[in-house]
């Protein structure tokens, strides 16, 4: 990993007005959890687990990772500043490692507190049953897998956002719902599987279709493969002056 690129990437996100969008994404589940606690609930634990699954895992987590993952290196490629990190005697794997580490750190900094806080608010007054821990670990694993995939997309294509969106909302959102065989290729399903195996709530209707260890291995495999391919892709990356 290259420390200078790591620090630069943190700077690219910190202190920018547009990063307020990320702050907003992190605050939404917390506000929703407060609203949720105002209502009446038959089974507060199950409903909180569903809340975390529906809002954090299926929306906030992929959206935050999509912004951060595709712009960590992608925005430099798009505006042409990538030349300043590519024209350096720095191994390509060190560039990807720094971008990946910084993206994971930033995404986790937004999504993990949102998960913990909204989970604790939702479960206030009832036993935790490992729900918060389960979703926190699941979300953290999801951050690694999603950012790795989105960084790969940003070096492999100029349409990373489009493909990322289609993956999250059409593949994971529609197709995986219809054809359960595709669950092995869904990061969302990995996260739900991990959360489900850690949380000890008996009735959960977020229907994790993957077992915990299986889901974790798949997520780790996807993240590692994506990072490896991103390095390979960057090694033969062509930089032109044309748009």
């Amino acid at each position: 990993m290259n420390e200078a690129i790591f620090a630069l990437t943190l700077r690219q996100f910190a202190g920018q007005r547009r990063s307020l969008l990320l702050v907003g994404l992190a605050l939404i589940p917390v506000a929703l959890a407060v609203i949720f606690r105002l209502g009446e609930h038959l089974d507060q634990q199950e409903e909180t687990a569903n809340f975390l699954a529906d809002i954090i895992v299926t929306a906030i987590l992929p959206l935050a990772c999509l912004i951060i993952g595709t712009s960590a290196l992608g925005s430099e490629i798009e505006d042409g500043t990538a030349v300043y990190i590519l024209a350096k005697p720095v191994p390509r794997r060190a560039i990807i490692a720094a971008k990946f580490a910084a993206s994971v750190l930033i995404a986790a900094a937004f999504v993990v507190p949102a998960t913990v806080v909204s989970g604790l608010i939702g479960l206030q007054g009832v036993p935790n049953e490992g729900i918060v821990a389960g979703f926190t670990i699941a979300v953290l694993v999801g951050v690694f897998a999603y950012t790795a995939v989105f960084i790969l997309l940003s070096v492999a294509t100029s349409r990373a956002l489009l493909i990322g969106l289609a993956y999250v909302f059409i593949w994971e959102g529609l197709i995986t719902e219809l054809f359960s065989g595709t669950r092995y290729l869904s990061i969302r399903q990995y996260c739900l599987g991990i959360a489900d195996s850690i949380a000890s709530v008996s009735t959960q209707d977020f229907e994790a279709s993957l077992g915990g260890p299986e889901a974790f291995l798949l997520a780790a495999g996807v993240a590692a493969t994506a990072v490896f391919l991103a390095v390979r892709r960057l090694e033969s990356f062509e930089l032109t002056e044309t748009d």
């Binding site: 690129i5 350096k88 005697p89 002056e241």
Partner: protein, 318 residues
């Protein structure tokens, strides 16, 4: 050019830095951007000259290792440029694009580059590089507020911060005012005098002519001429050359010259003669001989169109 080993950071003489292209072609889809180009460059300043879209930028990008040649190889110091990030330790590249990290100050930007080059004293190297382009006064302001010319100078500082033997610049004088341009040219000349290999692209003849003795002329993706531009000019014997001559008796000299077979036109002006010839070398030998025979003293004999402009427009319009 001679090497100046004492200017190198480690104080050890190294062989001259070279850029070599062997039968290099590059195409995008079915558009050929560079077509079978070969050249070999050593220390000194080389101008890459050609109209917009001729392929200059593509050649520079291949030399900088950013583009894979579709055919042939580009070598930097004998090693292939493509997929060889280690070479950047000895190469600086100044892109044409204006985009910089606008949230960094000038100093922070150069320091970032110094760190990425892995220098042991990034702070000292950054301050030296900023001083070299006279940007100390603005170094603590954000790049977002810089003018085009200031950005350009700072980009050069970032590219020379590691004291490279090879410097590649893509249209470096775009957006600079005349004073900045002169200052940058001086800077590049100094670096060339220290034995560095400097290549810059430009479509403006004046810049190339003032800075580079060696030129590569690129037209429609092909290398149409290379070398000393005066020499190139002399090679084009099938095209008329024009000289202005001042002598003790212009009228009599005109009569004598027009009889020579190398001369096919003479115009008599108020202060000098304008002579047109088809054979450059023959005429430069014949003129003094004829003058001596007539007892006339030649005070001045100048080739008028010995400028890159005429070389260039001739090459481009063919």
């Amino acid at each position: 050019m001679t090497m100046a080993p004492e200017t190198q950071p480690n104080g050890v003489a190294s062989p001259p830095a070279t850029i070599e292209a062997v039968n290099v072609s590059r195409w995008y889809g079915n558009v050929v951007a560079v077509n079978d180009v070969s050249f070999s460059l050593g220390p000194g300043i080389t101008g890459l000259l050609g109209p917009n879209g001729a392929g200059k930028s593509t050649i520079l990008h291949m030399a900088a290792g950013f583009l894979r040649p579709s055919e042939g190889t580009v070598r930097i110091d004998g090693e292939q440029a493509w997929q060889n990030p280690e070479m950047y330790a000895n190469v600086g590249f100044v892109p044409e694009k204006e985009a910089v990290y606008s949230f960094l100050t000038g100093y922070q930007f150069v320091l970032l580059n110094a760190k990425l080059y892995g220098l042991s004293d990034p702070d000292g190297a950054s301050r030296r590089a900023i001083r070299a382009v006279s940007m100390e006064a603005a170094q603590d302001r954000r790049l977002g507020g810089y003018s085009k010319g200031m950005k350009q100078r700072l980009k050069i500082a970032a590219a020379i911060v590691h004291d490279p033997q090879i410097l590649l610049l893509d249209e470096p004088f775009n957006g600079t005012d005349p004073a900045q341009r002169l200052q940058m040219m001086d800077q590049l000349r100094r670096m060339a005098d220290e034995g560095r290999t400097i290549v810059f692209s430009s479509h403006i003849l004046d810049e190339v002519e003032r800075l580079a003795r060696n030129v590569l002329v690129i037209v429609a993706g092909r290398l149409v001429a290379s070398g000393d531009f005066r020499a190139i000019r002399r090679l084009m014997t099938d095209r008329p050359h024009t000289f202005t001559v001042q002598s003790s008796d212009d009228r009599r000299l005109a009569v004598a010259l027009v009889a020579d077979e190398s001369v096919f036109g003479v115009e008599l002006g108020d202060e000098h003669l304008t002579v047109r010839t088809s054979q450059f070398a023959d005429f430069t030998r014949a003129a003094p001989r004829i003058a001596r025979a007539e007892g006339i003293t030649i005070q001045e004999l100048l080739p008028t169109d010995e400028s890159l402009e005429s070389v260039f427009s001739y090459l481009v319009k063919r």
